[in-house]
Every structure is written in C-alpha cells, then in structure tokens.
C-alpha cells in the first residue's frame, strides 16, 4: 500500500540486497528451486526452505509508474491500492447490484469531469450539481460494500497473514505477505482471485487516501520535495521524470475506469512472476498453485516501449529554499541494468559508500569533518531503464552544500585518475559474497530477490550469477566507467538551502545556526 519513494537509504539497501551475488550457492539453490511457466504465460517459482512451517510470497508485476498514461501519473500505484479492495465475491454479497451502481458512478464522474475541465464557458451551477450527482452515486454504490469494508485484508489477517503489503515503484509493482504453511491453498485462491476479478469499489475515497500518502511522503517532507524536483529535472524525455505517487492534478482526475484499463493492459500473466519461499514441497505445492493461477485469462503482452532519454549536454541544477537544514545531491546518467558495466557501477557504489572504510565516509565525515553522512548509490529513480548514479551528503552545522560538492568531486577525480588498491578491490568482492549469503536467510527477502531477477532477466539464477560479473571487475574498468560517467555536463544537482521561515514564526533552528545573509 505504499509507493517506493527513491529514498536514499532504501536505494542503498536495495542495491546491497539485489545486486550482489554468489556463484557457489547456485548449485544448492538449483536443487530446491522449481520454475514453471503456465500455459497462460504466468511464471511460478517455488523455493523450498523448510526452516519453520511458514511461507512468504511475492507477486511481481513487471509494470510500474513508468507505464502511467500521460495525464494520469500515479495510476500504477493507485491500482495497487485497489488490489486490496476485494473481488466479485469478497467485499460484497451482491455484485450484480454493485456493478450497476459502480457504472453509474463512472458515468456521473465522467459528466462532472467534462464540465470541470471545459476550457471555456464552464457552468459553475451545473458543475455543483454534477458533483453532487457523482457523490450521490458513490453513496449508492457504497451500500453494497460498506458492510464488508476491507474484507480481503480481514480474511488474510484473521487467517494469520503477516506483513501484508505492496509497493509500486518506477519499474514494477509487487504484492507480498507471509502465511502459516497450512494456508497455502487458501493463499493461492485469494492471490489469484484478486488478479482475475478485482473490483474498483470505493475508488474515489481510496484516491483521497493516496493523496494523503502524497502529502505525507512528498509535500510535507523536505527531502521528498527535493527528490521529486530533482528527478523531474534530471530526465527530460523518459517517464522517470514523473513522480510515482502522481501529480496532484492527475490524482484529482483519473477514474476507476482508468484503473481498470491499466489492470487490463498490464496485469497479464506473461507480465507476472509469483514466487513462494518456505516450508513447501514443490511437488505438492505446484499443482495447487497452478490450479488457481491457471484461471487468470491469457492476454497479449503489453507494449512497454518508452522514450529513450537523450544524452545530457549541460549541467542542470535545482535549488530548494526550505525551512530545513541543507542537503546536497547530484546524479549522473548511466545505462540500464543490462549494461555490461552494471557490476562496475555496483563496485563503485560499494567502494564509495559501504561502511567506515568507504572513501566518502573517510573523506567527508572522518577527515574533513564537514558531513554527518555521505554516500554514492546507483538505481535512482529505478534501474530498468537508463538512470542515475547519485552521490549525496548531509552537511553538519556550519557547513554548506557547496563544500559537499567540492569534497565529493575530489573523490570522483581520484577515482578517475588513480587505480583503486588491491585491498579495496578484494574488499568489494568479499563483501559482495558475504552480503549475498546474509540475504539468503529470509523467506521474504528471497521471494523478492528471486522474483525481481526472474522478471528482469527471465532467469532467477542471475541473482547468483552477478557475483561472477562483480568478480571480473578490474581496476581499469572502474577508472574507465568513472571517466565516462562522472562528467559535469552529465550531471544534475539538487540542493536544499536553509531559508528562514516567514516573519512572526519561531525559527526551526537556533539563531546563529544558519544565519541569514551568509550566502554568495
């Protein structure tokens, strides 16, 4: 029920979890991992991990906010919320009646929008009436569902479901929770059912919930505001420039019909991977899973072509003047995850950012003592398409974003001019191995990672194979990639500068901390 904001920390976690891998464990995983492609195109993966009588699953849909239609940003995430609203049998007892009532809501909403969005000659009186008609239609439709509010979630929770949630990001949408293992068949029914016959009930109230989510994560949070503006600036053509949560005008416009159309287009079996990890035997579980998920009708694979971002040829900058403490962020365009250099970028991120031996920690936090935290990471805002490798730093009191830029650039220059040491290269490769091992000890983490790799490479084994690629990274690769990527005309900069609040209010920081008039 959340969209993944490209928060700096979560990207790092994601990088660590997903990108690094280990070859030697592949053989053992081959033995207890079973993949089946159903006739309708759906891919099922079952990974046997008999540690406790539970299992976790991820349903990975290879469509995210990049697929939002023009003028309807936020729709992928909106549908994700709707996938918790039940089905024709869960959430109502009279679907025929509800269906007719929901159709009236859509008709009334279309009439309201047509008047609201008239470029000229809008009739305010008429608009008011149309709005009332729409609200009345909603009230009628709600009668069919209100007694069964959140029935889908109530079933899952009552049956012992743990951690029920979902997320939408630029590249994909994923649904997940865990169950005691005796609920496997119940799960297969519930999870397939919601992707066979989802019902767009209570859509416009849920839209308000999503708008509150936007207020929480973006509008009322300075880092959220910066990331939205920064990403918009860095991408001129590719849909990565639009926010996953959606622009407010789009959130106030798209309809339940739009959400249903999005589902029809992108939630097709050949675009989905379902992964189960836990105390299950593939020989017994696969027929159960297949029985229920085979019911999803086959549909043509959607067209997912997008614009290719053209090369950037001049530095871009966004500066936000905020009542909050400063922050420095910069990003450089890089190729997508299929690039032969993908693991070189991973290696650079690890070298620059991982732990107290990392170059940015040692330079900015330990030696210069100008930042409380600094790191570089890849995958902003996604990685399925060409995206950004980014660096950030939080200046400590008395220091400015411009100092962060200078210190980060000095470290980048070092990367371009000098080979990294043997010890550093060995450390990167050892850590990649250890990080993968640590990530294998959780049903949930494994289900996510296997699903992601299956969706991206059409082979879950890539989770393990990427370790071979990171093992082949050389010092020369790192210098070459740094020189190709980290150049000023390929850079977008995002800065939060402190600005005092309007007069008559308490400043959020003490007097003298961020004095006025100190700027250039």
């Amino acid at each position: 029920m959340k969209f993944r904001i490209s928060s700096i920390q979560t990207i790092i976690i994601c990088f660590v979890l997903c990108a690094l891998a280990l070859g030697q464990d592949l053989a053992s995983f081959e033995k207890h991992t079973t993949v089946k492609k159903l006739p309708n195109g759906l891919t099922i993966i079952i990974c046997e991990r008999p540690e406790a009588p539970v299992f976790s699953f991820f349903t990975h849909v290879d469509a995210g906010s990049v697929q939002d239609p023009m003028g309807k940003t936020g729709l992928a995430h909106m549908f994700e919320h709707m996938a918790f609203k039940g089905t024709e049998t869960i959430g109502t007892r009279d679907y025929a009646g509800e269906k007719a009532a929901l159709a009236k809501v859509e008709a009334a909403y279309a009439a309201y929008l047509a008047e609201r969005d008239k470029p000229v000659d809008r009739d305010e009186q008429k608009l008011k009436q149309l709005e009332q008609n729409w609200k009345d239609a909603i009230a009628e439709a709600d009668k069919f569902s209100a007694p069964y509010n959140n029935e889908f979630g109530k079933i899952v929770e009552g049956e012992g479901g743990e951690g029920m949630n979902a997320f939408t990001d630029y590249d994909e949408t994923a649904y997940h929770y865990s169950f005691p293992v005796n609920r496997l068949e119940l799960w297969a029914y519930l999870e397939s059912e919601r992707f066979i016959q989802p019902v767009m009930r209570q859509f416009y109230k849920e839209r308000n919930v999503v708008i509150e989510e936007r207020r929480m994560r973006t509008d009322s949070n300075p880092v959220g505001r910066l990331l939205e503006q920064f990403t918009e600036e860095a991408f001129a053509a590719h849909p990565y420039h639009r926010p996953t949560i959606g622009w407010i005008s789009d959130l106030n416009s798209f309809s339940a019909t739009d959400a249903q159309n999005f589902f029809n287009t992108y939630y097709v079996p050949s675009n989905m991977v379902v992964v189960i990890v836990g105390d299950v035997k593939a020989s017994e579980a696969m027929p159960v899973v297949e029985k229920y998920f085979s019911r999803i009708p086959s549909r043509p694979k959607p067209d997912t072509a997008t614009t290719t971002e053209p090369p950037q040829n001049s530095e871009r900058t966004v500066v936000l003047h905020e009542q909050s403490q400063p922050l420095y962020l910069e990003g450089y365009h890089r190729p997508d995850y299929r690039s032969k250099d993908d693991q070189v970028y991973d290696a650079i991120a690890d070298l620059m950012s991982n732990g107290r031996t990392s170059r940015l920690y040692r330079a900015l936090v330990r030696d210069k003592q100008i930042a409380s935290d600094s790191a570089g990471f890849t995958g902003l805002p996604g990685n399925k398409y060409p995206h950004l490798f980014a660096f950030y730093a939080f200046p400590i009191p008395g220091h400015k974003p411009q100092e962060m830029a200078a210190a980060i650039h000095a470290e980048i220059e070092r990367l371009k001019k000098e080979d990294i040491s043997d010890e550093e290269l060995k450390m990167i490769k050892t850590r990649a191995k250890a990080t993968l091992i640590r990530s294998l000890g959780s049903n949930e983490g494994l289900a996510f990672a296997l699903g992601l790799n299956q969706a991206r490479y059409d082979d879950w084994r890539e989770l393990f194979r990427s370790v071979d690629r990171i093992d082949k990274v050389t010092k020369a690769d790192i210098r070459r990639v740094a020189n190709e990527t980290f150049v000023p005309e390929n850079r977008t900069v995002g800065i939060i500068e402190f600005a005092p609040p309007p007069p008559g209010q308490h400043p959020p920081a003490a007097e003298g901390m961020q004095p006025q008039g100190g700027g250039q």
């Binding site: 880092v223 609040p501 920081a509 003490a510």
Partner: protein, 496 residues
C-alpha cells in the same frame, strides 16, 4: 501439503477450459464463482517445536544463550549490558549515544578504530556497539571461517576500549547534526513531542540531547561509564549461527570465565509525569498535513491486562481489519496513516497512543473522528466478530514470533533482561485464548479516557478547518532548538 480430493478434480476441469470449448468454459466459470474462500480446506499446522537456545550462567554472573543455526555459514553475537540512557543525568543527555559510537570507533588499547575498520571490512565482518534507553550493546557478525579473527576483536572492544578523542569529536558533531535537523520532518517532531507529553518533558523516556549536553560529555565520562557498567554480571550474551554448541560453550567459558565480577547496575528510579490533558499545538508552515497524536501512559507486559489489551489493540487500531483503519481511512478517506492502541512496555508503561495524519483542512474533523471512535466503544463495544478476528489474527500468526532460531534467541534474551519467565511466549498464547468480550470492554473502559489524554497537533495552524481552541484549551509548544554554546559550531562565513 495434501490436496483435497474434490478440489483436485476441479483442477482437471479448469485445466480443460483453457484447451477446449466455450461451453466448458462457462461451466467452469460457474464453478469458480460458487467456490468461496471458506470452502478451502485448512489442514492442521504441522507440529513445530522451535529449537530453544541453551542457557548457561558463568560463575561471574554472565548469562549466555547459545543457539545453533546451520542454514548459512554465519555466526552472529550480541552482548546486552545493563545501564542505559535512563541512568544518565540531565546535564549529559546523549552520553550513551556518544559512548555507543566511540566505544567501537575509538578503538582498543592496541588498535585504533580505523585499523579495526580495515581489518574487519577485509573479512566483510562487523563489530559494532551502541547506546540505548536501558542498556548498551556490543555485537559482531562474521562468516564462520573468520570467527576466530572477529571474535578476538569483539572481546578486545568489549574489554579494552580506548575512546580516542578524535572519534569523540566526530561523534559529537554527528549528534549536533541530528539536533539541528530534528525539526525538519513533521513525523519526527510529532513522535518526539508526543513522548514528552506522555512521560513528561524531562523524563529519560522522552528527553533529547541538546548542543550543551552533548558538548559537556568528556572522554573521562565514557571511561567512567564503561568501568561502572561493563561487568560480566551485567551482561547477557547471545550467539547464533553455524557452530557446535559444546565447542562454542568451552570457547566462551575460556574467553569470559576469568573476567571478574563488578558492581551490579542499579535500576534507576523514574517518575512518569504525563502532561495535563489539553491540546498542544506545534505550528509548522512548510507542511500541508497535520500529525495528530492523542497520548497517555500505557501498561507493561507484566500487567494482567496485557492479553486483553493485545486483543483490543488488534481490533481497534491494528492493521487492515481494525476500526480506525476501516472508519477513518477506508470509509472517510481522511488519512493514509491511522492507528493506535494501548502500548505495553517491558519494564515501564508503554504509550497509549491514537494517531492520524490528515490534510490541514480536515484537522478538526479528524480529531472529532477519533473522539467518536473512543465514545463509540461504549455505545458499540467491540463485538464477537471483531474479537474472534482479532484473536484469530494473533493466534494464527503466532508462529511468526519464533519462525527463525534468531527470533527465538532474541525473545529469550529479552525475557532474561527484564526478568520475565523464559516461557512467557508459550503462556502468551494461552492468555490470548482466554480473553473474552467482557475483558476487552473492561480494559477499553479502564485505559481509554479521552478526558485524560494530551492531544498533540503538528501542522500548519492557519490552514486548519477550525482552530483547536474550539475544542478546548490550547498550549502552543515552542520547539525552537536551544542555541549551541558560543564557538561550538563554526560560523558559515569562514567557509565562503
């Protein structure tokens, strides 16, 4: 898991559908529509007895839990040491934050922190330390093959820290940064101020470091803290991973057995002084959403009401199934984040808290919505269906409390630390089973008193739908950060 017979024949019909005629398709659709989730068989959950860690106590008082887990070639250990921020005097708030960082970064007598960093990172291993409310911790994580190397460093850090001054300065600067940023995120402001209202502004459970308290911390304070608290008889040590318990036990006895006992950590006396019931307002002009929290002190897990409040919380303010979620989010569309309940702490009352985040212009409306939910508990008590679902939810998901050896270990360590019976979790299940509708109504009436709660609102005050003063007395909270002592923070001009 066994397939139910009638359903597996249904499977055959559905499979045919994909291949054959539309007539079959229709009949199969009819069949799939008549099936409901209640018809799906739920076999008995296989008997599961999670492996229990072995508990030993050394003659010097140190308690050790050993938990074997051979799934992955990893060994992790954590020492939890009695004594934490609740034992720190008001003038040095933040002491365990600085201590918790510099204990490790400041290195040992023979190796400085940077040398430790290099040594450990070459092995993709960690040794880390940290401060906390009632304890401090030292922990390690390593690949099995590196255990000897890493455990040696861990013991050295535990026994022989040096607290080098350069790292104290870095830790202090990091804390100054945190202080300077603490009003930037409204959710953080709300969490912090709500704790002050529930426990009292100067309570160790609520107070926060200031520039002056952090600046006053010296190296000698860290040395004194270490020699006061880090003794085997104040330590609970848990180790989990790919080892043989008998060999590991011998190894640990050798490492810790000769460590002499020290002074036992005293339990601090802590008073809880909740704020007077009123509306407390923090004005933040750079937000368009209000963070609303209604708070009062809650209970401890030792309370006989713990089980009934757990069921109440699940039904009233827990997940998707709860009243607050259903009414305020789903039906009214007022919030994305809404929830709450009667919090239960281990050794001190948790926080009773109901919270909702809503747009500025529905602030008043949302407070009223919460009020209605509380009032409604009298008129429309949590009913049989809600009780059943809440209990089912807790009991059916119970297995997730111990579905990994590490979780079992952590539970046992917590019981040991707070003096709970080690079979507390097993009894929790029985306690929940016994809860009745009357129990839930009784605890709701006992703990949820709207007129005794402090209501915090962090938001853009001039944009509220109605002023809070239309609800009751309002106190404006000043969250201005006290200025640092002169000279502590460099003037910006120096850098331009």
């Amino acid at each position: 898991m066994k397939l139910n017979r009638s359903l597996s024949s249904g499977f055959a019909v559905i499979l045919l559908v994909g291949l054959c005629s539309s007539a079959l398709q229709l009949s199969a659709q009819a069949q799939s529509q008549t099936q409901t989730w209640q018809q799906i068989p739920i076999p008995k959950l296989p008997e599961f007895r999670p492996q229990q860690p072995k508990r030993i106590q050394l003659p010097n008082g140190m308690v050790i839990f050993l938990q074997e887990d051979h799934e992955l070639p990893i060994i992790d250990g954590t020492a939890r040491i009695r004594g934490g921020e609740t034992s720190v005097p008001a003038k040095a708030v933040g002491l365990t934050d600085v201590y918790g960082e510099v204990w490790r970064t400041g290195g040992t007598k023979t190796q400085n922190g940077d040398q430790l960093d290099d040594y450990l990172e070459q092995r993709a291993a960690k040794v880390e330390t940290g401060g906390g409310v009632d304890s401090t911790t030292a922990s390690f994580s390593c690949l099995k093959e590196d255990f000897d190397d890493v455990f040696r460093v861990f013991v050295d850090v535990l026994r022989n820290p040096e607290f080098r001054p350069d790292k104290i300065e870095i830790a202090q600067k990091g804390l100054y940064d945190g202080i300077s940023r603490r009003n930037d995120d409204p959710a953080q402001v709300a969490g912090r101020e709500a704790a002050k209202l529930a426990y009292g502004a100067s309570s160790p459970y609520a107070r926060t470091p200031e520039y002056a308290t952090v600046a006053a911390i010296t190296r000698q304070d860290l040395i004194d803290w270490h020699s006061k608290y880090v003794h085997p008889n104040n330590i609970i040590f848990g180790i989990v991973g790919d080892f043989d318990s008998a060999k590991m036990e011998a190894r640990l006895r050798e490492a810790f057995g000769s460590w002499p006992k020290g002074q036992k950590a005293a339990d601090p006396e802590i008073k809880i002084e909740p704020a007077k019931p009123a509306y407390y307002e923090v004005d933040k002009t750079d937000v368009n959403q209000s963070n609303i929290q209604m708070v009062a002190p809650g209970i401890t897990r030792k309370s006989p009401d713990y089980f009934a409040t757990s069921v109440f919380n699940e039904a009233f303010g827990g997940g998707f199934s709860s009243r607050l979620f259903g009414d305020i989010r789903t039906t009214k569309g007022l919030a994305y984040a809404v929830g709450g309940g009667i919090g239960a702490g281990w050794d001190h009352p948790g926080m009773l808290r109901l919270m909702v985040s809503t747009k500025s212009k529905t602030t008043y409306e949302s407070i009223q919505a919460l009020d209605e939910e509380i009032a409604d508990l009298n008129k429309r008590p949590i009913d049989d269906e809600e009780i059943k679902r809440a209990k089912d939810s807790i009991l059916n998901s119970f297995v997730f409390r111990f579905d990994s050896p590490e979780k079992v270990l952590q539970e046992k360590m917590a019981y040991e630390f707070y003096g709970y019976p080690l079979d507390f979790l097993e009894n929790f299940q029985k306690g929940i089973e016994k809860v009745t509708k009357q129990d839930v109504a009784r605890v709701a009436a006992k703990y949820l008193h709207r007129d005794q709660m402090a209501v915090l609102v962090v938001g853009h005050v001039s944009e509220f739908d109605k002023p809070l003063s239309s609800l009751g007395p309002v106190k404006k909270l000043d969250i201005t950060i006290p200025a640092p002592p002169p000279g502590l923070v460099p003037e910006q001009a120096e850098h331009e």
